[in-house]
Symmetry: C2
Subunit: 244 residues, 2 copies
Protein backbone atom coordinates (compact mmCIF):
# COMPACT_ATOMS: atom_id res chain seq x y z
CA UNK A 1 0.00 0.00 0.00
CA UNK A 2 1.53 3.34 -0.96
CA UNK A 3 1.92 6.41 1.27
CA UNK A 4 -0.27 8.62 -0.88
CA UNK A 5 -3.16 6.19 -0.67
CA UNK A 6 -2.81 5.99 3.10
CA UNK A 7 -3.00 9.76 3.39
CA UNK A 8 -6.42 9.97 1.71
CA UNK A 9 -9.43 9.84 4.01
CA UNK A 10 -11.45 6.66 4.24
CA UNK A 11 -15.01 7.77 3.63
CA UNK A 12 -16.59 4.47 2.82
CA UNK A 13 -18.80 4.46 5.91
CA UNK A 14 -21.71 6.91 6.23
CA UNK A 15 -21.99 9.80 6.70
CA UNK A 16 -20.64 10.81 3.30
CA UNK A 17 -18.14 13.67 2.83
CA UNK A 18 -20.03 16.87 3.59
CA UNK A 19 -21.43 18.51 0.53
CA UNK A 20 -19.67 16.16 -1.86
CA UNK A 21 -22.88 15.19 -3.57
CA UNK A 22 -24.14 18.67 -4.05
CA UNK A 23 -21.26 19.67 -6.36
CA UNK A 24 -23.12 19.13 -9.61
CA UNK A 25 -20.86 21.65 -11.32
CA UNK A 26 -18.37 18.77 -11.50
CA UNK A 27 -19.26 17.16 -14.78
CA UNK A 28 -17.64 13.81 -14.24
CA UNK A 29 -19.14 13.66 -10.79
CA UNK A 30 -22.63 14.25 -12.14
CA UNK A 31 -22.08 11.57 -14.79
CA UNK A 32 -21.19 9.12 -12.03
CA UNK A 33 -24.50 9.76 -10.28
CA UNK A 34 -26.36 9.41 -13.58
CA UNK A 35 -24.55 6.12 -14.21
CA UNK A 36 -25.57 4.82 -10.79
CA UNK A 37 -29.21 5.69 -11.51
CA UNK A 38 -28.96 4.18 -15.00
CA UNK A 39 -27.67 0.94 -13.52
CA UNK A 40 -30.49 0.87 -10.99
CA UNK A 41 -33.10 1.57 -13.67
CA UNK A 42 -31.90 -1.12 -16.05
CA UNK A 43 -31.41 -3.50 -13.14
CA UNK A 44 -35.03 -2.91 -12.16
CA UNK A 45 -36.32 -3.59 -15.67
CA UNK A 46 -34.39 -6.84 -15.97
CA UNK A 47 -35.42 -7.80 -12.43
CA UNK A 48 -39.04 -7.25 -13.47
CA UNK A 49 -38.60 -9.70 -16.35
CA UNK A 50 -36.98 -12.29 -14.15
CA UNK A 51 -39.47 -11.98 -11.29
CA UNK A 52 -42.39 -12.16 -13.73
CA UNK A 53 -40.87 -15.36 -15.09
CA UNK A 54 -40.48 -16.65 -11.52
CA UNK A 55 -44.15 -15.80 -10.96
CA UNK A 56 -44.96 -18.09 -13.87
CA UNK A 57 -42.91 -20.93 -12.31
CA UNK A 58 -44.45 -20.40 -8.87
CA UNK A 59 -45.69 -23.65 -7.28
CA UNK A 60 -48.84 -22.07 -5.78
CA UNK A 61 -51.09 -19.14 -6.59
CA UNK A 62 -50.00 -17.43 -3.35
CA UNK A 63 -46.37 -17.70 -4.48
CA UNK A 64 -47.37 -16.30 -7.84
CA UNK A 65 -48.99 -13.31 -6.17
CA UNK A 66 -45.86 -12.78 -4.06
CA UNK A 67 -43.50 -12.83 -7.04
CA UNK A 68 -45.82 -10.74 -9.23
CA UNK A 69 -45.98 -8.14 -6.44
CA UNK A 70 -42.18 -8.01 -6.26
CA UNK A 71 -42.02 -7.66 -10.03
CA UNK A 72 -44.51 -4.84 -9.95
CA UNK A 73 -42.54 -3.09 -7.15
CA UNK A 74 -39.56 -3.01 -9.52
CA UNK A 75 -41.57 -0.98 -12.00
CA UNK A 76 -42.69 1.42 -9.28
CA UNK A 77 -39.02 1.88 -8.32
CA UNK A 78 -38.10 2.28 -11.96
CA UNK A 79 -40.64 5.12 -12.18
CA UNK A 80 -38.99 6.91 -9.25
CA UNK A 81 -35.49 6.55 -10.69
CA UNK A 82 -36.75 7.75 -14.07
CA UNK A 83 -38.25 10.88 -12.46
CA UNK A 84 -35.01 11.59 -10.57
CA UNK A 85 -33.05 11.31 -13.81
CA UNK A 86 -35.53 13.64 -15.49
CA UNK A 87 -34.91 16.15 -12.65
CA UNK A 88 -31.23 15.93 -13.57
CA UNK A 89 -32.16 16.55 -17.21
CA UNK A 90 -31.37 13.01 -18.34
CA UNK A 91 -33.64 10.61 -20.23
CA UNK A 92 -33.79 7.22 -18.50
CA UNK A 93 -33.41 5.42 -21.83
CA UNK A 94 -30.10 7.21 -22.41
CA UNK A 95 -28.89 6.60 -18.88
CA UNK A 96 -29.55 2.84 -19.16
CA UNK A 97 -27.88 2.33 -22.52
CA UNK A 98 -24.30 1.63 -21.31
CA UNK A 99 -25.57 -1.11 -19.02
CA UNK A 100 -27.64 -3.23 -21.41
CA UNK A 101 -24.72 -5.47 -22.35
CA UNK A 102 -23.35 -6.32 -18.87
CA UNK A 103 -26.82 -6.90 -17.39
CA UNK A 104 -28.00 -8.98 -20.32
CA UNK A 105 -24.80 -11.03 -20.13
CA UNK A 106 -25.28 -11.55 -16.38
CA UNK A 107 -28.83 -12.80 -16.90
CA UNK A 108 -27.87 -14.97 -19.87
CA UNK A 109 -25.16 -16.67 -17.80
CA UNK A 110 -27.37 -17.12 -14.75
CA UNK A 111 -30.72 -18.45 -15.89
CA UNK A 112 -32.45 -20.15 -12.94
CA UNK A 113 -33.28 -23.76 -13.78
CA UNK A 114 -36.12 -23.92 -11.25
CA UNK A 115 -38.19 -22.05 -8.70
CA UNK A 116 -35.58 -22.33 -5.90
CA UNK A 117 -32.74 -21.06 -8.08
CA UNK A 118 -34.97 -18.11 -9.02
CA UNK A 119 -35.63 -17.31 -5.35
CA UNK A 120 -31.91 -17.49 -4.53
CA UNK A 121 -31.07 -15.27 -7.47
CA UNK A 122 -33.54 -12.64 -6.29
CA UNK A 123 -32.25 -12.76 -2.71
CA UNK A 124 -28.52 -13.49 -2.95
CA UNK A 125 -27.80 -11.89 -6.32
CA UNK A 126 -29.93 -8.77 -5.88
CA UNK A 127 -28.85 -8.55 -2.23
CA UNK A 128 -25.18 -8.46 -3.18
CA UNK A 129 -25.79 -5.93 -5.97
CA UNK A 130 -27.93 -3.79 -3.64
CA UNK A 131 -25.19 -3.68 -0.99
CA UNK A 132 -22.76 -2.50 -3.63
CA UNK A 133 -25.13 0.21 -4.93
CA UNK A 134 -25.56 1.45 -1.37
CA UNK A 135 -21.78 1.73 -1.01
CA UNK A 136 -21.58 3.79 -4.19
CA UNK A 137 -24.56 5.90 -3.10
CA UNK A 138 -22.54 7.15 -0.12
CA UNK A 139 -20.70 9.33 -2.66
CA UNK A 140 -23.63 10.97 -4.46
CA UNK A 141 -25.84 13.92 -3.52
CA UNK A 142 -28.26 13.54 -0.63
CA UNK A 143 -31.46 13.36 -2.74
CA UNK A 144 -30.08 10.68 -5.04
CA UNK A 145 -28.70 8.78 -2.05
CA UNK A 146 -32.06 8.81 -0.25
CA UNK A 147 -33.76 7.57 -3.38
CA UNK A 148 -31.24 4.75 -3.84
CA UNK A 149 -31.64 3.63 -0.22
CA UNK A 150 -35.43 3.70 -0.52
CA UNK A 151 -35.74 1.73 -3.74
CA UNK A 152 -33.26 -0.87 -2.46
CA UNK A 153 -34.72 -1.50 0.97
CA UNK A 154 -37.17 -4.34 0.91
CA UNK A 155 -36.99 -6.82 3.73
CA UNK A 156 -40.25 -8.59 2.90
CA UNK A 157 -38.72 -10.73 0.21
CA UNK A 158 -35.80 -11.89 2.37
CA UNK A 159 -37.99 -13.56 4.97
CA UNK A 160 -40.06 -15.20 2.26
CA UNK A 161 -37.01 -16.64 0.48
CA UNK A 162 -35.40 -17.78 3.72
CA UNK A 163 -38.57 -19.64 4.77
CA UNK A 164 -38.94 -21.29 1.35
CA UNK A 165 -35.30 -22.32 0.94
CA UNK A 166 -35.00 -23.64 4.52
CA UNK A 167 -38.14 -25.66 3.99
CA UNK A 168 -36.77 -27.12 0.76
CA UNK A 169 -33.52 -28.09 2.53
CA UNK A 170 -35.49 -29.72 5.36
CA UNK A 171 -37.38 -31.80 2.82
CA UNK A 172 -34.23 -32.75 0.89
CA UNK A 173 -30.87 -31.82 2.48
CA UNK A 174 -29.00 -32.49 -0.79
CA UNK A 175 -30.55 -29.30 -2.17
CA UNK A 176 -28.19 -27.25 0.04
CA UNK A 177 -25.03 -28.17 -1.87
CA UNK A 178 -26.51 -27.36 -5.26
CA UNK A 179 -27.90 -24.01 -4.06
CA UNK A 180 -24.60 -23.06 -2.39
CA UNK A 181 -22.79 -23.66 -5.69
CA UNK A 182 -25.47 -21.67 -7.53
CA UNK A 183 -25.02 -18.74 -5.12
CA UNK A 184 -21.27 -18.75 -5.66
CA UNK A 185 -21.81 -18.66 -9.40
CA UNK A 186 -24.22 -15.72 -9.06
CA UNK A 187 -21.74 -13.67 -7.05
CA UNK A 188 -18.88 -14.62 -9.37
CA UNK A 189 -20.82 -13.54 -12.46
CA UNK A 190 -21.99 -10.35 -10.75
CA UNK A 191 -18.40 -9.43 -9.86
CA UNK A 192 -17.16 -10.15 -13.34
CA UNK A 193 -19.84 -7.94 -14.93
CA UNK A 194 -19.19 -5.24 -12.32
CA UNK A 195 -15.54 -5.29 -13.33
CA UNK A 196 -16.56 -4.80 -16.94
CA UNK A 197 -18.71 -1.80 -15.96
CA UNK A 198 -15.89 -0.36 -13.83
CA UNK A 199 -13.49 -0.62 -16.75
CA UNK A 200 -15.93 1.08 -19.15
CA UNK A 201 -17.37 3.81 -16.94
CA UNK A 202 -14.65 6.07 -15.58
CA UNK A 203 -17.16 8.48 -14.08
CA UNK A 204 -18.74 5.75 -11.98
CA UNK A 205 -15.37 4.38 -10.88
CA UNK A 206 -14.13 7.82 -9.91
CA UNK A 207 -17.17 8.27 -7.67
CA UNK A 208 -15.62 5.56 -5.51
CA UNK A 209 -11.96 6.40 -5.95
CA UNK A 210 -12.37 10.18 -5.85
CA UNK A 211 -10.38 12.74 -7.85
CA UNK A 212 -7.80 15.37 -7.01
CA UNK A 213 -10.58 17.72 -5.82
CA UNK A 214 -12.90 15.19 -4.26
CA UNK A 215 -12.31 12.63 -1.55
CA UNK A 216 -12.91 8.97 -2.34
CA UNK A 217 -11.72 5.56 -1.25
CA UNK A 218 -8.09 4.54 -1.35
CA UNK A 219 -7.14 0.95 -2.10
CA UNK A 220 -7.31 -0.01 1.56
CA UNK A 221 -10.80 1.49 1.82
CA UNK A 222 -11.92 -0.34 -1.33
CA UNK A 223 -10.61 -3.56 0.09
CA UNK A 224 -12.53 -2.89 3.32
CA UNK A 225 -15.64 -2.25 1.22
CA UNK A 226 -15.24 -5.66 -0.39
CA UNK A 227 -14.83 -7.22 3.04
CA UNK A 228 -18.12 -5.63 4.09
CA UNK A 229 -19.87 -6.91 0.95
CA UNK A 230 -18.56 -10.45 1.51
CA UNK A 231 -19.51 -10.32 5.19
CA UNK A 232 -23.10 -9.34 4.45
CA UNK A 233 -23.27 -11.95 1.72
CA UNK A 234 -22.02 -14.63 4.13
CA UNK A 235 -24.61 -13.58 6.69
CA UNK A 236 -27.35 -13.82 4.05
CA UNK A 237 -26.16 -17.30 3.07
CA UNK A 238 -26.11 -18.41 6.70
CA UNK A 239 -29.71 -17.29 7.09
CA UNK A 240 -30.59 -19.55 4.17
CA UNK A 241 -28.71 -22.41 5.80
CA UNK A 242 -26.14 -22.35 3.00
CA UNK A 243 -22.36 -22.22 3.07
CA UNK A 244 -20.96 -19.09 1.40
CA UNK B 1 -90.99 -12.42 -24.31
CA UNK B 2 -93.28 -13.15 -21.38
CA UNK B 3 -95.46 -10.62 -19.57
CA UNK B 4 -93.69 -11.10 -16.27
CA UNK B 5 -90.33 -10.26 -17.79
CA UNK B 6 -91.77 -7.18 -19.47
CA UNK B 7 -93.14 -5.95 -16.17
CA UNK B 8 -89.71 -5.90 -14.50
CA UNK B 9 -87.86 -2.60 -14.65
CA UNK B 10 -84.95 -2.18 -17.02
CA UNK B 11 -82.12 -1.02 -14.80
CA UNK B 12 -79.18 -1.78 -17.04
CA UNK B 13 -78.21 1.85 -17.45
CA UNK B 14 -76.77 3.84 -14.52
CA UNK B 15 -77.82 4.98 -12.01
CA UNK B 16 -78.30 1.59 -10.36
CA UNK B 17 -81.42 0.70 -8.38
CA UNK B 18 -81.36 2.82 -5.21
CA UNK B 19 -79.83 1.00 -2.28
CA UNK B 20 -79.71 -2.33 -4.09
CA UNK B 21 -76.01 -2.76 -3.41
CA UNK B 22 -76.22 -1.94 0.25
CA UNK B 23 -78.41 -4.96 1.06
CA UNK B 24 -75.60 -7.21 2.23
CA UNK B 25 -78.02 -9.15 4.37
CA UNK B 26 -79.00 -10.91 1.12
CA UNK B 27 -76.58 -13.78 1.05
CA UNK B 28 -76.80 -14.63 -2.61
CA UNK B 29 -76.48 -10.98 -3.45
CA UNK B 30 -73.28 -10.66 -1.43
CA UNK B 31 -71.90 -13.78 -3.10
CA UNK B 32 -72.52 -12.16 -6.48
CA UNK B 33 -70.44 -9.12 -5.50
CA UNK B 34 -67.70 -11.39 -4.15
CA UNK B 35 -67.76 -13.33 -7.44
CA UNK B 36 -67.38 -10.13 -9.44
CA UNK B 37 -64.36 -9.13 -7.33
CA UNK B 38 -62.92 -12.65 -7.59
CA UNK B 39 -63.19 -12.50 -11.38
CA UNK B 40 -61.49 -9.12 -11.45
CA UNK B 41 -58.69 -10.32 -9.15
CA UNK B 42 -57.94 -13.46 -11.12
CA UNK B 43 -58.29 -11.54 -14.37
CA UNK B 44 -55.68 -9.07 -13.09
CA UNK B 45 -53.24 -11.84 -12.15
CA UNK B 46 -53.53 -13.53 -15.52
CA UNK B 47 -53.30 -10.16 -17.26
CA UNK B 48 -50.08 -9.52 -15.35
CA UNK B 49 -48.62 -12.76 -16.71
CA UNK B 50 -49.65 -11.97 -20.24
CA UNK B 51 -48.47 -8.34 -20.18
CA UNK B 52 -45.13 -9.40 -18.67
CA UNK B 53 -44.78 -11.87 -21.53
CA UNK B 54 -45.66 -9.08 -23.98
CA UNK B 55 -42.97 -6.94 -22.32
CA UNK B 56 -40.49 -9.68 -23.15
CA UNK B 57 -41.59 -9.67 -26.82
CA UNK B 58 -41.49 -5.87 -27.04
CA UNK B 59 -39.61 -4.60 -30.12
CA UNK B 60 -37.95 -1.68 -28.27
CA UNK B 61 -36.93 -0.93 -24.71
CA UNK B 62 -39.51 1.88 -24.58
CA UNK B 63 -42.23 -0.63 -25.54
CA UNK B 64 -40.91 -2.97 -22.87
CA UNK B 65 -41.21 -0.23 -20.25
CA UNK B 66 -44.76 0.53 -21.42
CA UNK B 67 -45.91 -3.10 -21.17
CA UNK B 68 -44.09 -3.71 -17.88
CA UNK B 69 -45.82 -0.63 -16.44
CA UNK B 70 -49.21 -1.96 -17.51
CA UNK B 71 -48.37 -5.33 -15.98
CA UNK B 72 -47.37 -3.69 -12.75
CA UNK B 73 -50.61 -1.64 -12.70
CA UNK B 74 -52.52 -4.93 -12.72
CA UNK B 75 -50.85 -5.93 -9.48
CA UNK B 76 -51.65 -2.56 -7.91
CA UNK B 77 -55.30 -3.08 -8.91
CA UNK B 78 -55.17 -6.64 -7.61
CA UNK B 79 -54.04 -5.26 -4.24
CA UNK B 80 -57.05 -2.94 -4.10
CA UNK B 81 -59.52 -5.69 -4.98
CA UNK B 82 -57.88 -7.97 -2.41
CA UNK B 83 -58.32 -5.30 0.29
CA UNK B 84 -61.97 -4.77 -0.66
CA UNK B 85 -62.61 -8.51 -0.41
CA UNK B 86 -60.88 -8.54 2.98
CA UNK B 87 -63.27 -5.76 4.09
CA UNK B 88 -66.10 -8.09 3.10
CA UNK B 89 -64.45 -10.85 5.15
CA UNK B 90 -63.36 -12.89 2.12
CA UNK B 91 -59.87 -14.15 1.27
CA UNK B 92 -58.91 -13.22 -2.28
CA UNK B 93 -57.51 -16.71 -2.90
CA UNK B 94 -60.91 -18.21 -2.08
CA UNK B 95 -62.78 -15.65 -4.17
CA UNK B 96 -60.63 -16.39 -7.25
CA UNK B 97 -60.86 -20.17 -7.07
CA UNK B 98 -64.05 -20.67 -9.16
CA UNK B 99 -62.53 -18.67 -12.00
CA UNK B 100 -59.19 -20.40 -12.49
CA UNK B 101 -60.55 -22.86 -15.04
CA UNK B 102 -62.43 -20.49 -17.36
CA UNK B 103 -59.63 -17.87 -17.35
CA UNK B 104 -56.90 -20.43 -17.89
CA UNK B 105 -58.91 -21.95 -20.72
CA UNK B 106 -59.42 -18.52 -22.31
CA UNK B 107 -55.69 -17.81 -22.20
CA UNK B 108 -54.76 -21.29 -23.43
CA UNK B 109 -57.06 -20.88 -26.44
CA UNK B 110 -55.89 -17.35 -27.23
CA UNK B 111 -52.09 -17.29 -27.04
CA UNK B 112 -50.81 -14.31 -29.04
CA UNK B 113 -48.39 -15.44 -31.74
CA UNK B 114 -46.62 -12.08 -31.88
CA UNK B 115 -46.34 -8.58 -30.46
CA UNK B 116 -49.34 -7.18 -32.40
CA UNK B 117 -51.64 -10.01 -31.38
CA UNK B 118 -50.61 -9.38 -27.78
CA UNK B 119 -51.47 -5.68 -28.09
CA UNK B 120 -54.85 -6.47 -29.61
CA UNK B 121 -55.59 -8.99 -26.91
CA UNK B 122 -54.86 -6.41 -24.20
CA UNK B 123 -57.01 -3.76 -25.90
CA UNK B 124 -59.88 -5.61 -27.58
CA UNK B 125 -60.12 -8.60 -25.22
CA UNK B 126 -59.66 -6.72 -21.95
CA UNK B 127 -61.77 -3.85 -23.28
CA UNK B 128 -64.71 -6.15 -23.98
CA UNK B 129 -64.36 -7.89 -20.61
CA UNK B 130 -64.07 -4.53 -18.83
CA UNK B 131 -67.27 -3.25 -20.43
CA UNK B 132 -69.07 -6.34 -19.22
CA UNK B 133 -67.71 -6.01 -15.66
CA UNK B 134 -68.89 -2.40 -15.61
CA UNK B 135 -72.39 -3.55 -16.59
CA UNK B 136 -72.43 -6.06 -13.75
CA UNK B 137 -71.02 -3.46 -11.34
CA UNK B 138 -74.18 -1.39 -11.81
CA UNK B 139 -75.86 -3.97 -9.56
CA UNK B 140 -73.44 -4.06 -6.63
CA UNK B 141 -72.98 -1.75 -3.64
CA UNK B 142 -71.61 1.76 -4.24
CA UNK B 143 -68.13 1.12 -2.76
CA UNK B 144 -67.56 -2.01 -4.79
CA UNK B 145 -68.90 -0.28 -7.88
CA UNK B 146 -66.54 2.69 -7.48
CA UNK B 147 -63.62 0.33 -7.04
CA UNK B 148 -64.54 -1.67 -10.15
CA UNK B 149 -64.84 1.50 -12.23
CA UNK B 150 -61.49 2.78 -10.96
CA UNK B 151 -59.46 -0.37 -11.56
CA UNK B 152 -60.96 -0.75 -15.03
CA UNK B 153 -60.47 2.78 -16.31
CA UNK B 154 -57.19 3.13 -18.13
CA UNK B 155 -57.23 5.07 -21.35
CA UNK B 156 -53.45 5.31 -21.70
CA UNK B 157 -53.08 1.86 -23.15
CA UNK B 158 -55.79 2.36 -25.76
CA UNK B 159 -54.00 5.23 -27.48
CA UNK B 160 -50.73 3.33 -27.44
CA UNK B 161 -52.27 0.22 -29.03
CA UNK B 162 -54.20 2.24 -31.62
CA UNK B 163 -51.01 4.07 -32.68
CA UNK B 164 -49.00 0.84 -32.91
CA UNK B 165 -51.63 -1.19 -34.77
CA UNK B 166 -52.44 1.62 -37.23
CA UNK B 167 -48.74 2.00 -37.95
CA UNK B 168 -48.38 -1.73 -38.58
CA UNK B 169 -51.34 -1.65 -40.99
CA UNK B 170 -49.85 1.34 -42.82
CA UNK B 171 -46.61 -0.58 -43.27
CA UNK B 172 -48.38 -3.76 -44.41
CA UNK B 173 -52.14 -3.52 -45.09
CA UNK B 174 -52.51 -7.33 -45.16
CA UNK B 175 -52.04 -7.29 -41.38
CA UNK B 176 -55.56 -5.85 -40.98
CA UNK B 177 -57.35 -9.02 -42.10
CA UNK B 178 -55.38 -11.27 -39.81
CA UNK B 179 -55.87 -8.97 -36.80
CA UNK B 180 -59.61 -8.61 -37.47
CA UNK B 181 -59.95 -12.41 -37.45
CA UNK B 182 -57.89 -12.58 -34.27
CA UNK B 183 -60.17 -10.03 -32.58
CA UNK B 184 -63.24 -12.00 -33.52
CA UNK B 185 -61.68 -15.11 -32.02
CA UNK B 186 -60.89 -13.26 -28.81
CA UNK B 187 -64.45 -12.05 -28.37
CA UNK B 188 -65.85 -15.46 -29.29
CA UNK B 189 -63.67 -17.22 -26.71
CA UNK B 190 -64.45 -14.59 -24.09
CA UNK B 191 -68.19 -15.06 -24.63
CA UNK B 192 -67.94 -18.82 -24.48
CA UNK B 193 -66.01 -18.71 -21.17
CA UNK B 194 -68.44 -16.09 -19.83
CA UNK B 195 -71.28 -18.47 -20.61
CA UNK B 196 -69.50 -21.18 -18.65
CA UNK B 197 -69.13 -18.84 -15.66
CA UNK B 198 -72.79 -17.79 -15.92
CA UNK B 199 -73.89 -21.43 -15.89
CA UNK B 200 -71.73 -22.24 -12.84
CA UNK B 201 -72.23 -19.15 -10.72
CA UNK B 202 -75.90 -18.57 -9.95
CA UNK B 203 -75.13 -15.74 -7.55
CA UNK B 204 -73.33 -13.78 -10.23
CA UNK B 205 -76.02 -14.43 -12.82
CA UNK B 206 -78.76 -13.38 -10.45
CA UNK B 207 -77.00 -10.04 -9.89
CA UNK B 208 -77.91 -9.30 -13.49
CA UNK B 209 -81.28 -11.01 -13.68
CA UNK B 210 -82.46 -10.01 -10.20
CA UNK B 211 -84.60 -12.10 -7.84
CA UNK B 212 -88.15 -11.86 -6.53
CA UNK B 213 -87.01 -9.22 -3.99
CA UNK B 214 -84.48 -7.41 -6.09
CA UNK B 215 -84.81 -5.73 -9.48
CA UNK B 216 -82.59 -6.91 -12.32
CA UNK B 217 -82.59 -7.10 -16.10
CA UNK B 218 -85.28 -8.88 -18.04
CA UNK B 219 -84.44 -10.64 -21.30
CA UNK B 220 -85.02 -7.51 -23.32
CA UNK B 221 -82.68 -5.56 -21.03
CA UNK B 222 -80.03 -8.28 -21.28
CA UNK B 223 -80.27 -8.18 -25.03
CA UNK B 224 -79.87 -4.38 -24.93
CA UNK B 225 -76.80 -4.87 -22.73
CA UNK B 226 -75.29 -7.15 -25.37
CA UNK B 227 -76.04 -4.56 -28.03
CA UNK B 228 -74.17 -1.97 -25.99
CA UNK B 229 -71.19 -4.33 -25.57
CA UNK B 230 -71.06 -5.06 -29.29
CA UNK B 231 -71.41 -1.37 -30.13
CA UNK B 232 -68.46 -0.38 -27.94
CA UNK B 233 -66.45 -3.27 -29.32
CA UNK B 234 -67.18 -2.16 -32.88
CA UNK B 235 -66.13 1.40 -32.03
CA UNK B 236 -62.87 0.08 -30.57
CA UNK B 237 -62.20 -1.98 -33.69
CA UNK B 238 -62.91 1.04 -35.92
CA UNK B 239 -60.35 3.06 -33.96
CA UNK B 240 -57.81 0.36 -34.77
CA UNK B 241 -58.77 0.49 -38.42
CA UNK B 242 -60.18 -3.05 -38.20
CA UNK B 243 -63.52 -4.46 -39.23
CA UNK B 244 -65.49 -5.91 -36.28
Amino acid sequence: MDEHADARPDVAAPPPPPGAGEVFGDREYRQGAVDLLGILAYGQLTAFDRLAEDARLAPTLADKVHMATLASDQIAHFGRVKRRLADLGVDVMEAMRPFHAPFNAFHDYTRPKDWLEGLIKAYVGDGFAGDFYREVAAFVDADTRTLVYEVLSDERHGEYVVANVRHAIDVDPRVAGRLALWSRRLVGEALSQAQRVAADRDALTSLLTGTVDRPGMDLAAISRMFSRLIETHTRRMAKLGLQA
